[in-house]
């Protein structure tokens, strides 16, 4: 299906992209296009102006310094999954990026486009929340930084405003004793998460000293499993303690679980503890 007609503008630099965005109210930013183009083809989005930032050089690249991984918004899922720096410093992100969509989708789709779109069934928002990422945004008032917990505001709604551009995502590099993982039950055609779980634990002297568990696919924004996290801290991470923590996830999800034609809310809620257990077990096995 064809999208509605629009004016296409290509930005060569970030400053140019920002200026075009201020000048064209209602314009949408196009990066890899793997979230925006499907929406436009379904006419769920019909912007009159599309600003292509796909070739802005300062939005590319991955660097690791000062204990943080800095990822340009235009970094593709394939580039993330292939990066040795990401694999070492943010295991769950590497793992999740390698399971977004399929190989052709990963060659075009970008981390910035993915999180700015904020589909509830998308993998990376949960992973970046679990890893405590910071999102750097450029807008009319200059630059600002937003923590993951404040970034995802609602279904397909983020802290990136109409005149803003998400420029980089900063992820704290893996600390001593930390391990992280992402486990998902995926829709067989779209490969979106029916249930996705990102887990990150820090183990010190055989005891879990910090844990974060964040789910996607179930609620409109990434869901923290606080009771599950609390149940892990202070424990040795064994099959039994992990299973006990996973069993608490229902309390954390409450009645906000969404269902659709593929999987009902009840089904998703029943599957969630299984994937929490798998994600935490994998994270624990990688903690070093």
């Amino acid at each position: 299906m064809y999208a509605s007609n629009f004016n296409y503008l290509r930005a060569g630099t970030l400053a140019e992209a920002s200026a075009l965005l201020q000048k064209n109210p209602g314009a949408k930013v196009l990066a890899g296009g793997h979230s925006l183009i499907p929406l436009m083809k379904l006419r769920l989005a019909s912007p009159t102006v599309v600003i292509d930032i796909g070739r802005v050089p300062e939005l590319r690249g991955i660097s690791l310094s000062g204990g943080a991984l800095t990822i340009g918004a235009l970094t593709t899922h394939a580039e993330l999954a292939a990066s040795a720096a990401v694999q070492d410093a943010a295991q769950a992100l590497s793992e999740a990026a390698g399971h977004v969509g399929d190989p052709a989708v990963r060659n075009r789709g970008t981390i910035g486009g993915n999180v700015a779109h904020a589909d509830p069934a998308s993998d990376l928002p949960a992973v970046l929340t679990a890893l405590g990422a910071t999102f750097h945004i450029t807008g009319p008032g200059g630059r600002r930084s937003v923590q993951a917990s404040d970034f995802f505001k609602g279904m397909m709604n983020t802290a990136v405003g109409e005149h803003d551009i998400l420029t980089t995502i900063e992820v704290p590099a893996r600390a001593a004793g930390q391990g992280s993982a992402y486990a998902k039950f995926e829709h067989p055609a779209s490969r979106y998460a029916v249930v996705g779980v990102a887990a990150c634990v820090i183990v010190n002297g055989g005891t879990c000293v910090a844990a974060s568990i964040v789910l996607c696919g179930l609620t409109s924004t990434p869901a923290r499993a606080k009771s599950g996290e609390q149940a892990l801290v202070g424990q040795a991470l064994t099959r039994e303690t992990i299973a006990a923590a996973a069993g608490k996830v229902g309390t954390d999800l409450g009645s906000d679980v969404l269902g659709d034609i593929f999987a009902s809310a009840e089904y998703r809620a029943a599957v969630a503890p299984v994937y929490v257990r798998r994600a935490v077990e994998a994270a624990a096995s990688r903690a070093r």
Partner: protein
């Protein structure tokens, strides 16, 4: 209208397009390269897979204007001097197709797979074509075809 210049199968091509025109439509309707198929039109089935700057991409999810200045390879660009590409030969010999609708996309995905992973395991092949749906074969002969092609290269 915007003018796009794309190198398609090694040849410089130009087209006047509406910005909303998808790459798959320009390839099929303006360049008459109908080997690239449009299947689901929702980035899931992979029938429209081509190479953009050397890597597999779903041409139903790219506006042609985004490909301006890029190199695009379609199924028509694989054979050289009348000789089938090893993957085309593999699909022929291992019966990797029945109706053939998914085949061009399958092969273009497999080109990227074998570039990244020259000697893939069966699991790696299945992951490599995870974005390509086939309703005829049950995939086994497609996996065999890609394995055969990998061994012959």
């Amino acid at each position: 209208m915007s003018q796009v210049a794309i190198i398609v199968n090694g040849k410089a091509r130009k087209a006047d397009v509406e910005p909303r025109m998808l790459l798959v439509h320009v390839l099929r309707e303006q360049f008459n390269l109908t080997g690239t198929h449009l299947g689901c039109d929702t980035s899931q089935c992979g029938a429209c897979t081509v190479l953009v700057d050397g890597r597999s991409a779903k041409s139903c999810t790219i506006f042609a204007v985004q490909a301006d200045g890029s190199e695009v390879t379609t199924i028509e660009g694989l054979a050289t001097d009348g000789q089938l590409h090893p993957l085309q030969k593999g699909f022929w010999d291992a019966h990797g197709l029945q109706c053939g609708y998914c085949t061009p996309g399958m092969i273009m995905s497999a080109v990227t797979l074998l570039r990244d992973t020259p000697d893939p395991t069966e699991a790696q092949i299945r992951e490599g074509i995870a974005g390509n749906l086939c309703r005829c074969t049950g995939y086994q002969h497609i996996v065999d075809a890609i394995q055969l092609a990998a061994g012959r290269r």
